[in-house]
Amino acid sequence: MIDQPQIGQPISRLEGRAKVTGTAKYAGEYNVDGLLYGYVVNSTITKGKITQIDTSAAKEIEGVIEVFTHENRPSLAWFDMQYSDMDAPPGSPFRPLQNAEIKYNGQPIALVVAETFELARYAASILKVSYEEESFATDLYQNQDKGRDPKVGMATFLKPLPPKPKGDFEKEYAASVAQVSAEYVHGTEHHNPMELFATTTIYEGDGKVTIYDKTQGTVNCQLYVGNIFGLHFKNVRVISPYVGGAFGSGLRPQYQLFMSVMAALELKRAVRVTLDRHQMYTFGHRPPTVQQLNFGADENGVVNAIKHTAIAETSQHEDYTEVVVNWSNILYPAKNTKLEYQLVPLDVYSPLDMRAPGGSTASHAIESTMDALAFKLSIDPVQFRLINYADMDVAENRPFSSKELKQCYIQGAERFGWSKRNPELRSMRRGNKLIGYGMATGFWESMTIPARAEAVLTKEGKLRVSSAVTDIGTGTLTVMTQIAADELGLPLEDVQFNYGDSKMPFAPIQGGSFTVSTVGSAIKSAGKALRKKILKKAREMDNSPFKNADDNDISFERGGISLNSNPAVMVFFKEIIAASGNKEIKTTNMSVPNVFKLKKYTRAAHSAAFVEVEIDEELGTIQVTRAVTAVAAGNIINPKTARSQILGGMVWGISKALYEETISDHRFGKYMNQNLAEYHIPVHADIHELDVIFVEEKDEIVNELGSKGVGEIGLVAMAPAIANAIFHATGKRINHLPIHFDELI
């Protein structure tokens, strides 16, 4: 048995057995009797109107139950607000099957429901749809002049707009000894979790539904469904115990949820709707962004002038934003800054948070610019960052809650062997391969938002904790179980964490690396309340040894309470339960972060990535042969699952730098590589030595756990570190992603 505390132990995933034996059931795998299959039909035009949908041939097929279109869908909620969700940006949320209007290519326009999957798929392929097409625009680069300020809304709370200009950027930049001016571009990317989006809705009768959905927020989907279909929230239960990856794509309810619930309610039967891989490109994506940076430094390498402009894509119906330009000045304390962020509405679906949204976009530009500036000044890139190290956040004029970034640089460089780097370009070789070393800084804001949790001491003297939160593969089940175990000093096997069910206490959507912080805090606060209750019950026992004891006099350990002054004096939980009427002891608690305290600090996780690339000089082929990421993210609850999160982020960084891109054809206004054969994510053969360091960091501000979250931070620094390593190896600075190998010949 592993000793207490459980926090800090490298526990293997508790759901591991279910996942390696195939018993873990995902949303599209609940095969109930009488299940119907829905298949979605998507628009083949980009903008215009449907003039006719002929469903007669499809309906004639035996086994086809119904075809839903905008013409025969049930009457639904009226107001935009009712279609909103916890992650909705300002604007009008997309409403599936609302009317004949086509807003983007691939928009869902019909749902065919049939008795088998194959029948539904076939019938979906024979609908005859006529359109009236209108002209459209989908190309961000060609439409940058249409950039405008984003609308402000609820989302702005978590995604602040850029701060106002400071000092005199133009003057200082002009006076700088070294200047770098560069444009950075990255295209559209799609989340592409391995699991296809799917919803199985079980119709329970009387306006009641049980929904198995692929989502990052059970409650988010419950509220959405309740609002749109006019159902009592109590009659909508959303269950998602296993989620086959999401990376942001499940932060908002997606249209298969709407389709499945609509059909189940209308047909009063169980209906499953699974999207195909092609359809996975018809909702949400990382928006293409064009950034212009101008950094100026003095002869000592001090960056005095920073201008960072970003122009990003959004849809015509919502203003999706990311925090991009703000980071320049949080990281590097220049006194003269100009930070601007604009949106260009185009005829596409609304962009959607995708792993490290904004941060990975910003870091590519900022950290490449810093590398270029260091090169101009002939200063080592690590040294250059130390010269410009921000001991406080000058943009907001407040301290950091903790910031061990300096240690990330030092320990990362040491482990990597950065000192062996020859600063000269094209100077390092292995056979006919050019070798490049590159590094970059990463950052990710640490957020905490309110959540509830329930903690129950069961009749068996065990702990049961519940939250509606999902586990999208991040290790939530394991980590929450560890946190809960320490609350009562129990071994893991005596703790059960129930999750992934909207019936359980409220949890927000799972994203932004805030789950441990948010749900973990809720569990801690429920645990604290439960301890209080247990002690109260223990005091009430006959001849209780704790009659005069308070919290400080006792310990929760070995399945009971002991007296600190004499640990041999002990009462087991089972005895307490037995003495108090053999009833469970239960608490439900809301944890609300202390916003007034928190806003006095800038709270962020930091990282430094060090990368070696090997480039075939003649052919240009690139391998990231090794990489080290040093992370300062506060207290690490589970070093095993946290390491995997960082490794995953690093692989995403390699992918972003070298492989993945959604290819658009703006003549048609559509994406062209909507599959996993041509949307390249790395294969095993692309991934080499990856190493992770967790730098010790104490943070007493960020939350009670002192933990900052590790979902995004592993990704942020990787792409610029790779681009910088490629520059070091070849002398070529390529400022658009992904970098194709043929650009190096």
């Binding site: 293997s12 195939g22 086994g63 391995m194 296809l196 086959g244 990856g245 490794l647 996993l676 294969v683």
Partner: protein, 172 residues
């Protein structure tokens, strides 16, 4: 033996169902399906063996990998009718009762998955690869396993787990 079918009676003529007999995870199965049912959908929707995953349905991700007559194949790119008489092993049939297969244990120990959706395919593919005995070095194993994508980025842990089992087997 019970014949497993989910065909609506009304659509029988359209669907031309066929009766197939397969051995799945060691047990004989009689399956009634139309020709257009893929082996993958046959397993998932008809036999309720949902451990085999659908990630792309087009042979681009490897999540649907099963072992068919001793070889790793993609169940999405073949039809159930084409496998009449075959012996199929899916992730549900890998362990020896409650005793996990060494690869299953190694995957847990090395944290070789996060969301778990590519995992059944990775494990079935690795079993097939070890059986083929053509990939020996880490570089060769990575190439031979490249038909199985992992979006969580568990790549290094997956290969670590496989190498450990492979090396243990070599020392047997």
């Amino acid at each position: 033996m019970e014949t497993i079918t989910n065909h609506p009676k009304s659509a029988r003529n359209v669907l031309q169902p066929r009766v197939l007999s397969l051995r799945v995870n060691g047990a004989p199965k009689i399956l009634e399906v139309s020709p257009w049912v893929s082996l993958l959908d046959g397993l998932r929707e008809y036999l309720d063996l949902t451990g085999t995953k659908k990630g792309c349905d087009h042979g681009q991700c490897g999540a649907c990998t099963v072992i068919c007559d001793g070889k790793r194949i993609l169940s999405c790119l073949t039809l159930a009718v084409m496998k009449n008489g075959s012996e199929i092993t899916t992730i549900e049939g890998i362990s020896n009762g409650a005793e996990l297969h060494p690869l299953q244990k190694a995957f847990i120990e090395h944290d070789a998955f996060q969301c778990g959706y590519c995992t059944p395919g990775q494990i079935c593919s690795a079993i097939g690869m070890i059986e083929e005995n053509k990939a020996h070095t880490r570089t060769e194993v990575k190439d031979s396993m490249s038909g199985n994508l992992c979006r969580c980025g568990a790549n290094t842990n997956i290969i670590d787990a496989i190498m450990e089992v492979k090396e243990a087997k070599n020392h047997e």
